[in-house]
């Protein structure tokens, strides 16, 4: 502006114009040419501007009033949404996706396929048949028996029964029928009972022979000649003299004698006594088949053994020997 090269008429264009309103409102020293502008400004301000404060409505009063809550914090702040909810800038709240169970996804994927349906149906059918077989509703040949422990016990008892049958009857005949005896538990119990009865019979014969021998000794006679040979456990199929069995004859026995079981077990390894060498074997009728054991011969009848009825005399038995007393050749 102060450049002397610039002509004065052109300097008027570059001079910043003086704002008349700012001069009037700024209480500047007014020139005469601004008197009219000052009058206009005065008229405008006096017409529209009032000195009374604006009545504040409740919404505005909420901003300006110092409302404090119990903690001393202002109840309404500038950023509150008392006059409407703030614009949602982040959209819907992000929710963490629910964690899905992978096992269910795998099962669903398997069931969704045809092969999966086949596999699942087969598995269900197999489980159903197995359950029915286990509960004995259905007998499936390929599946094992229900209880292997019971089967093994039955096998052992069947072996014992078979060996006892060999002792008392023809071993060759009995050896051909192990299957029937092994599967019949009732016969196993009866066989054990028969063993006890044999032992009781041996004890009774032994007692009878002892009485006879005492009487013969008192009479000065030879006990062997009068009463015959002393009964031997081997003749009864017993390896040891059942001394305790003689004392327990009158008591009810619920379990087989341990020595009898031992003899049963040993019967499979030791050779069976020859039936031809036993007098008892000659008098004893042949052992009926296993299936007829319940209704079998009199030799196994406990009432016949336990009663006072003497056994049937042998065909060749003579003398005062008690009937049924075994005689050694």
């Amino acid at each position: 502006m102060d450049d002397p090269d610039v002509p004065s008429p052109e300097m008027r264009w570059f001079r910043p114009p003086r704002d008349e309103i700012d001069a009037v409102l700024g209480d500047d020293l007014l020139d005469d040419d601004l008197a009219e502008v000052a009058a206009i400004v005065h008229d405008l301000r006096s017409a529209y501007l009032r000195d009374e404060p604006v009545t504040r409505h409740a919404a505005l009063h909420a901003f300006t009033a110092t409302l404090l809550d119990d903690n001393g914090e202002p109840l309404v702040t500038a950023v509150s949404n008392a006059h409407g909810s703030a614009p949602q800038t982040a959209g819907l709240p992000n929710r963490e996706p629910k964690r899905k169970n992978k096992m269910f996804e795998t099962v669903s994927a398997l069931v969704a396929t045809v092969a999966g349906k086949v596999v699942l149906g087969t598995a269900v059918a197999a489980a159903s048949v197995g359950g029915l077989h286990a509960t004995d509703f259905v007998d499936v040949p390929g599946l094992p028996e229900q209880s292997s422990e019971e089967s093994s016990d039955q096998d052992v008892t069947a072996d014992a029964d078979a060996s006892q049958s060999e002792d008392e009857t023809d071993a060759a005949d009995e050896a051909n029928e192990p299957a029937d005896a092994a599967t019949d538990g009732q016969k196993t119990a009866e066989a054990a009972q028969t063993k006890q009865e044999v032992a009781a019979a041996f004890a009774a014969d032994m007692e009878e022979w002892s009485t006879c021998a005492e009487e013969a000794g008192a009479a000065g006679l030879n006990p062997v000649e009068e009463c015959g040979e002393r009964p031997h456990p081997r003749d009864y199929g017993l390896t040891e003299p059942p001394t305790s069995q003689a004392d327990n004859r009158g008591r009810p026995e619920t379990t087989p004698a341990p020595d009898a079981a031992t003899s049963d077990r040993g019967a499979t390894t030791t050779p069976a006594p020859d039936a031809a060498t036993s007098d008892r074997g000659a008098t004893t009728p042949p052992q009926p088949p296993a299936g007829d054991a319940a209704t079998g011969g009199t030799d196994n009848d406990p009432s016949a053994r336990g009663s006072s009825t003497p056994p049937q005399p042998a065909a060749g038995d003579t003398g005062g020997a008690p009937s049924g007393t075994p005689t050694r050749p």
């Binding site: 409102l25 017409a47 009032r50």
Partner: protein, 188 residues
């Protein structure tokens, strides 16, 4: 600037209001309510006091997101007032106008003493006279003069409210004042 408070104090009030300080809000209301009411009244608002309250509520609702200095804040406030005036005129333009043909058809005043001071007959005459004078200028010149004189905004602030350049504001102001001088000279 014609405001009682300078720009530094204005900026301090804005900062306090942005932090939720009621004192900051109250200071801003006291500084803005008078020119705001005069501007909306001069623009023919049906309820100047209600409109001022609405403008201030909108300003304070969004003051947390405001970023600027004191002149920009004043320009922002009057831009909101101007937009609300435009909306109000649009609403009034869609409403049917009821013209009272007889004095008994005028509605009875609800309150004998209204909260806002009604213009006295002298003031009403003065307002009618000023309205008659302002009717001689264009709407743009009238708006510039009202923002400059009644709202007490600077040229730059007026230009920001009207979304134009300051030179255009000066030109409109100059032409408007020139026209008003002629009218004052004709009507003493």
């Amino acid at each position: 600037m014609k405001y009682d408070a300078d720009d530094a104090q204005f900026s301090e009030w804005v900062a306090c209001a942005q932090q939720g300080d009621p004192a900051g809000f109250d200071s801003l209301v006291r500084a803005l309510e008078r020119p705001l009411a005069g501007f909306v009244r001069a623009r023919g608002a049906a309820d100047p006091e209600g409109l001022v309250n609405e403008v201030l509520v909108r300003v304070f609702s969004g003051i947390a997101g405001f970023d600027g200095n004191a002149p920009q804040f004043r320009a922002w406030v009057f831009r909101i007032a101007r937009n609300l005036l435009v909306d109000e005129r649009r609403r009034d333009g869609r409403r049917p106008h009821v013209v009272a043909t007889a004095p008994d058809m005028l509605p009875e005043p609800i309150f004998s003493q209204p909260a806002f001071s009604e213009p006295t007959p002298d003031r009403l005459d003065e307002s009618e006279r000023v309205e008659a004078i302002l009717a001689q200028v264009t709407s743009e010149q009238r708006e510039v003069l009202l923002l400059r004189v009644v709202a007490e905004l600077s040229v730059e602030e007026t230009a920001e409210v009207l979304d134009c350049r300051p030179g255009a504001v000066r030109a409109l102001q100059h032409r408007g004042l020139k026209r008003l001088r002629q009218e004052f000279a004709r009507k003493p």
